[in-house]
């Protein structure tokens, strides 16, 4: 069975600015694949290329095993897209937004009625179908954008920062909908800069920076490989502690008022720190994807 998305040596520049610099990855059927990276890393450009919005400069792109060039109309009919902005029609109701989008896909009206009903149910928008989009909260709008992206029963769902700007309740609600879709076997490509979101949803992911892929893998594998199982943070570290870490050759990051120590054998080191160096302000926690992300992409502000 061919991969759903195959990207090979993809490049895109805007003038002298390189947005995507020769990336390759493949997304298998039923997989949820994440593109992570700081602002300006090239995530959005990459997925815009994958759903046929932005033309690439060079590289190969195959979707559903088909070469994309000249086949976009047929391919787009099988792809659902949630763009970054809530670009719903503000003058139309919830139901009309779904119906007009179905018309863009040339769906016959009995099918549209059926799908609109089931999508309103799926996104818990029942009873709101006559509401104007202007009256919807951010969370409701996002759910409607998701319902709209599913109107053509896509075989590939593409989400560009699906939960940016949502409150925790709305995020969790959306995540549970996406998990449900995954259970049904829908292949998903998403961008995010929320590490908890990526860790929860993605089977595999890449971390991008400056148009290049830094690492690729399953979230837990990446954490184990690049950070270890746990991380120790020390507030107001002493000179002794720094010397000790250097002598032992342990990897750590020095943030001035805070040390972040990555250790394969965290437990023993933690006990040693508690006994010797800094009783207060020393904390051990499980390593997260955020540690991987910050270790690989650095801590400097991007914009």
């Amino acid at each position: 069975m061919p991969a759903i998305i195959e990207v090979d040596n993809l490049r895109k520049s805007y003038g002298s600015a390189v947005a995507v610099d020769g990336i390759s990855f493949a997304v298998q059927a039923g997989e949820c694949f994440g593109l992570l990276g700081p602002n300006g890393a090239g995530k959005t450009t990459t997925i815009r290329i994958v759903y046929g919005f932005t033309p690439r400069d060079s590289g190969h792109l195959r979707i559903f095993g088909t070469d994309c060039d000249g086949a976009w109309r047929a391919l787009k009919a099988r792809i659902g897209v949630c763009q970054q902005e809530n670009n719903l029609d503000p003058d139309l109701t919830v139901r009309e937004n779904l119906e007009i989008f179905a018309a863009y896909f040339n769906l016959p009206s009995p099918l549209v009625r059926e799908r609109v009903a089931s999508l309103l149910h799926f996104t818990a928008l029942e009873g709101r179908e006559q509401s104007s989009v202007r009256d919807l909260s951010g969370g409701l709008m996002r759910r409607l954008v998701l319902a709209r992206a599913l109107i053509n029963e896509p075989q590939l769902l593409i989400l560009d920062e699906p939960t940016t700007g949502l409150d925790p309740q709305s995020r969790h609600q959306l995540w549970s909908r996406l998990e449900e879709l995954k259970l049904r076997g829908l292949t998903t490509l998403l961008t995010t800069h929320y590490m908890d979101e990526a860790q929860r949803l993605c089977d595999r992911l890449v971390i991008m920076d400056e148009g290049k892929i830094l690492v690729e893998g399953a979230p837990l594998d990446l954490i184990r490989l690049h950070v270890g199982s746990s991380v120790i943070e020390v507030v107001a570290p002493s000179v002794d502690l720094r010397r000790m870490l250097q002598e032992k050759g342990l990897p750590y990051e020095d943030l001035g008022q805070r040390l972040v120590i990555y250790s394969i054998d965290g437990e023993a080191l933690y006990r040693e720190l508690l006994n010797g160096h800094s009783r207060d302000g020393c904390m051990m926690r499980p390593a997260t994807l955020e540690d991987v992300f910050l270790r690989l992409t650095g801590r400097e502000l991007r914009e």
Binding site: F53, N87, D89, F101, A103, N152
Partner: protein, 260 residues
């Protein structure tokens, strides 16, 4: 990207705009009904008393009957140009409607074609409404006057394409004031609308004849008064050629703006 990717799917974009229009028609209907009333009252009844009548097509014509078709032509110009500048820009830039459409099987050429044909349709709707009022004043000569509806579509198309080209170029929505002030307003005043072109100096007449509203006014006036002549056909040929040239330029311009 070469060649245009255009199927009849543009109808779906047109239908989207119609659906939104039908939700706001109670407000959209008002200007095309009230505007001719105001102008006919001010210019026809007020100014017309001073002017009396003037010669058009070799016949003496009452001033109110002379300007009524020009008001229809001006409305055709403004409806389409407004629709494909301010309204299209709002859909493109603020509502990101085009971005959403481009994630579906619709192509950019279909989206822009649907927009342009919708602009021309707004001109036809406005003309139909104005014709009701102008007919009540007894100023339309039927059955020729019925041809004002297809004329409105042709004229609307010409100004819709021009508006879309502006939308492809302007950096911000405020920039539309420039074509409004430099293109639309001079035409509104000097295209044989409120006084005959012959009253202008020679060079100004030549300039006026290169502008689309001059031909649209001539077309509307000859149809409204039922006086078809060679200049009627010239006007049709001019507006047709103008649209045929500007339509592909609008598509290319919008591609350059949106495909990035």
């Amino acid at each position: 990207m070469t060649g245009f990717d255009l199927s009849c799917r543009f109808v779906q974009v047109w239908q989207r705009n119609l659906l939104v229009y039908r939700k706001t028609w109670k407000i959209s209907f008002v200007p095309p009904l009230l505007e001719p009333l105001f102008y006919l009252a001010a210019f026809g009844v007020g100014l017309g008393k001073l002017v009396g009548s003037l010669a058009y097509g070799g016949k003496s014509t009452n001033y109110t009957a002379y300007i009524a078709p020009a008001l229809i032509a001006i409305n055709i110009m403004q409806s389409a140009f407004f629709e494909n500048t301010f309204s299209s820009f709002v859909r493109m830039y603020y509502q990101k409607t085009f971005d959403a459409m481009l994630a579906t099987p619709l192509t950019i050429d279909e989206v822009i074609t649907g927009e342009i044909l919708w602009g021309a349709t707004k001109s036809v709707i406005g003309t139909a409404l104005m014709m009701v009022i102008v007919t009540l004043f007894g100023l339309l000569h039927y059955p020729y006057a019925l041809l004002l509806l297809p004329a409105a579509f042709l004229g609307g198309l010409a100004f819709a394409c021009a508006g879309m080209i502006c939308t492809a170029i302007v950096p911000t929505i405020e920039t539309f004031n420039l074509p409004m002030f430099l293109f639309i307003t001079p035409m509104f005043l000097f295209s044989g609308t409120f006084f005959p072109l012959d009253n202008l100096p020679g060079w100004a007449q030549l300039v006026a004849r290169t502008l689309p509203l001059t031909h649209l006014v001539e077309l509307c006036r000859s149809l409204a008064l039922g006086r078809i002549s060679a200049s009627t056909l010239t006007a049709v040929a001019y507006l047709f050629t103008w649209s045929v040239v500007l339509f592909p330029l609008a598509l290319i311009g919008m591609r350059r703006r949106l495909v990035r």
